[in-house]
Homo-oligomer: 699 residues x 2
Amino acid sequence: MSKLSKYPVTLDGNNVDEKRQEIKDYFHNTYELYEKVFDVLKNDDVFYEKSEVTRHPMIFYFGHTATFFINKLINMKIIKERINSNFESIFAVGVDEMSWDDVNSSNYSWPKVDEVREYRKKVKELVDELIMTLPLTLPIKDDSPMWIILMGIEHERIHIETSLVLHRQMPIGLVKSIEEFAVCPNNSDTPKNSMLKINAAKIKLGKDDSHNLYGWDNEYGDYKEEVSTFEVSKYLVSNGEFMEFVEAGGYSNSEFWDEEGRSFLEQTKAAYPTFWLLKNGKFRYRTLSSEIDMPLNWPVDVNALEAEAFCRYKSQKDGVKYQLPSEAEYRAIYDEAGLQDIPAFHESRANLNFYHYASSCPVDEFSFNGIYDVVGNVWQWSRTPIRGFDGFKVHEAYDDFSTPTFDEKHSLILGSSWASSGNLIMKYSRYAFRKHFYQNAGFRYVISNQEEKKLTDIYESDELVAQYCEFQYGETHFGVENFAIATAEVASKFAVNKTKALDLGCATGRATYELAREFDEVEGVDFSVRFVQVGAKLKSDGYVAFSSKEEGELVKNKKVTIQELGYESLKERVSFWQGDACNLKPNFNSYDLIMATNLIDRLYNPRLFLDTIDERLNADGILVITSPYTWQESSTKKEFWLGGYEDENGDEVKTIDSLKNILNNKFELIHLQDLEFVIKETARKYQHTISQLSVWKKR
Amino acid sequence: MSKLSKYPVTLDGNNVDEKRQEIKDYFHNTYELYEKVFDVLKNDDVFYEKSEVTRHPMIFYFGHTATFFINKLINMKIIKERINSNFESIFAVGVDEMSWDDVNSSNYSWPKVDEVREYRKKVKELVDELIMTLPLTLPIKDDSPMWIILMGIEHERIHIETSLVLHRQMPIGLVKSIEEFAVCPNNSDTPKNSMLKINAAKIKLGKDDSHNLYGWDNEYGDYKEEVSTFEVSKYLVSNGEFMEFVEAGGYSNSEFWDEEGRSFLEQTKAAYPTFWLLKNGKFRYRTLSSEIDMPLNWPVDVNALEAEAFCRYKSQKDGVKYQLPSEAEYRAIYDEAGLQDIPAFHESRANLNFYHYASSCPVDEFSFNGIYDVVGNVWQWSRTPIRGFDGFKVHEAYDDFSTPTFDEKHSLILGSSWASSGNLIMKYSRYAFRKHFYQNAGFRYVISNQEEKKLTDIYESDELVAQYCEFQYGETHFGVENFAIATAEVASKFAVNKTKALDLGCATGRATYELAREFDEVEGVDFSVRFVQVGAKLKSDGYVAFSSKEEGELVKNKKVTIQELGYESLKERVSFWQGDACNLKPNFNSYDLIMATNLIDRLYNPRLFLDTIDERLNADGILVITSPYTWQESSTKKEFWLGGYEDENGDEVKTIDSLKNILNNKFELIHLQDLEFVIKETARKYQHTISQLSVWKKR
């Protein structure tokens, strides 16, 4: 094993105590490696700089991976107490390429780096203790509390890789070289690429539930494809090979770019790859923390749009169609190369896991049966968008890890890079990014007849999300009116001022739009990006599409456009965000209306929410709560229920009375009514619920 | 370990292969011991005799424990194919003290003993194979398929004990002595009993989920009670001590008997214990297969009613109140005696697990810190009726193991007997019987101030059963009429003849009664005794009482009487039975109407039901099916769905079309309509369903 990075822990074994020790060692290794990545920043001031405007400053990422442990442990009810609720709110969401994350850092006052270091230490101590004391049986299953610890570790492994990209994008003056991250010294001429034949194969993708390594939800399930014979480039495309395209004016010839690519060029004015530097008419190359002569024999780092443009250029030049490999073709290459998973395959045989270098290396250095860099060096873009395999199901602790990327806009990257470790270097891992995104990623090309099927409308098939789409955008049943419209109407009626509203528990966003009929600005917030993305997609793509369940597995596909809904003129007023109602970020404030819809009986600690919600309301602000008070232990531990139990005297405690007791100091109850709603499960089965709606005016 | 009987297998361990072998050994030991019990029957003809009229003939029990494995494995979808569906129907239900089991054996033609022996062999081979091949991780949890194997084994252990009682009740000429079941040779005078002090103690009953032995559902959960200082008899009550009561005319003095006891005396004309024989004016004693001189120093075998009568007699005589120990008091005795669970406690120290004798032995033979027979010799009746502990939940594979006994009429028996083995000899096991029932059971008495709380109306609190009580006997909601009444009305309208009807999937029985308004005889059948007992109780006790959920854990207790329902005059027309619609016993036949209510989408193989149901209908018979067709894998494996999927051509298959295809040859579809129903979950949350009702006339 390399000194810097350990292999992932297996889930099985015979000795629980030894397993705890292994997990602890792996956790420490991960945690320390992550901190080493931040040693690349020149000094503490740099933590407040961004690698580019659309990203958070570095301090966010430094805190983020530690707060992830705590937020997941709280949500899964494994621990009850937060360590620092402010940190755990401002460092909470990290997938910042997405619209529903808030990257306007002027909204926060970031803490001192030393405070975050201190916080990281506390988290480490807590996680250490949990590793030693949580109930544990082997093999570790995805419903084990220890799975959440492994999830936190693998999450940090991802950020080791992505943070290194951010640091590499930092101005050179803000980073420094450190001994452990040494650059490859081999730099020479362009090796000539050529094509190798890959035999037809029946490919089966997807990992069994019984696999003995931690996996993200998207890795499990089943997918089969027959791959015809095809050819693949022997090497990854090198800087030298890509140079041809650049020098032929590839970046300014729009016929090599598709619509998304042209939009990328317009926005960035790119004329060559992002880690190339043009100095005195000569291309140089940016490594993590140095600038070096152009290594023509290293793989080029590009995004998927640049890789596709190169393929179009080369196709035109050679009169043969080149394209990026599909996911199944890549597996055929992998098999043909005789590769096996770690540890059967030793890390020393490829440029990964920080074993050799903290940079790329020549494309002709690591051969696998004559095909080079099948794994390692840089990630390889695929033409396949990430999709769930048959049998896909989200893990409840991280239900928005994958599904927001199942939008046909996120392309898979294959094979891992020099900066990959942990789950990222394993055979079954699957990561995907938007095509304009940079990673330590390049590409190889194939000649194959197979076209990737383009899906057009994506019908939401996640059962729960689709059920909510039907609930908010579908038909009405039993004569009960649309609940999102009805609540927004009542709430608007009682609102005194109408500048800004918060739709908390917005689900798929219908009420957020409805409130925008009256309010200048409405923010829709939900705990799960799975839901939030529906409202966001209505805004960006102009429609909501979903599969409504009819009988058994039979569905009816439905699509509603923003025009049909009459929201075209309202869409600039709404925005959608991921957030935890029990620990909302500080920038969610200054509202004239906060509407909490069917939320309080689903919170892990509803009191936490109610105790401070008044602080986010303007004077004369209105709080609207709707709920059927269906308390259940799976959402809320009994000790946190607001009602539905007997107190120590044997008296019945009802939720509405607790609401009055809790809110009475700060609010006046001005309206109370019942409001029905109906959720369709199938064409013949419905949930029919009588929600109580209460309107509270801030005193 | 004794040669005859092995200790139960622990659930934990480090080696899966060794565990499989242990389970296999334990299974074989159980299976062989059970067959040895039947060697006591003189010859194969005796298998068709009954120990008493209300019981099945012995052949039933011989087949029953083997079919139990298959029925549970089928129901849990661990296996798909039955071995012999006829055997698995006629040998299916064994709790024959209850009204819902059919003990009228003229209804069956019993198979040959050798056929059953052959069948048992096949089951053994299948179980052997499953033990070696089922997925297995350690510790074994209650959701593991291997748990069902252990359930089958422990179920057979129970029948080893109860079958020995049945054999002991057989006419002496029909049984024979076998070498392995030797009677205790020590027979002498009555030892003088005395009282010992037991210190006050805080008692905690109930087994943790993590306990390393198989347990029945009623063992788990949590119960705490403070027990005050009390006194307990040093010995179990011996035949000699009980003789006093008999000779004092105890059986004919009604003041020593409560209402249930007097009714027992009336029915049985008992004048002394059941295993005593009065020969030439002298009492002799029946062992398993011999008659011996009265062993005055052995414990008396009595039922709970006789034990209570003795206590009342002795209280009157001594002027001190004696009663049977409560469950908590027994644990205090157990603790005071310094007892531990097997294997820390060795079986040789008590008369249990067939280690010493196949009979009782002197009450002064096995001492535990001066208290005798705290475990072993004979079971000891408790004054506590069996109840579920806090946190009780049924195991889905056997949901009517315990709940039908939570009726305040089943008393716990404590401490195990010479014929107990397996789970029955373990500390946390809990078994209970009706008070008039005989086991290898006697008693000891206590002087204690604690009274057992008598519950009067038992409000059904099993969440699902209570929900169905509310559905069938509670209020209507959203203006939707009572579904049981509505379906019975439609079905009655279409019925041509009205002699006999079957309400299949009768749940808590409302429609069964409603059909009895029109039909001379109506049989209500459901898969679960948990449900069937509600309708049966309405008939026997004249009311239905249940806790209807309002908010969280808060409930409203409701009670409906048979007079209010107007069923007083109908009750002799209805009867309730446990049965599997996919494998109904042959005696369920000759109906003019079969009504299958919300059943077909809950069956493991609905086709099996539909293919032969016509055979149970008379000429002009009517079949009524209602269902919302909510197919789900948890009830029905996808391959058995009748609709709700796409066929191999991608065409949608709907349930109603499959029903037409399957039934078309034998039935004519004469009516089709929608019928709504509403099931209350809480005061604010309801399931609102649109069932499809189809009426089929036999061709």
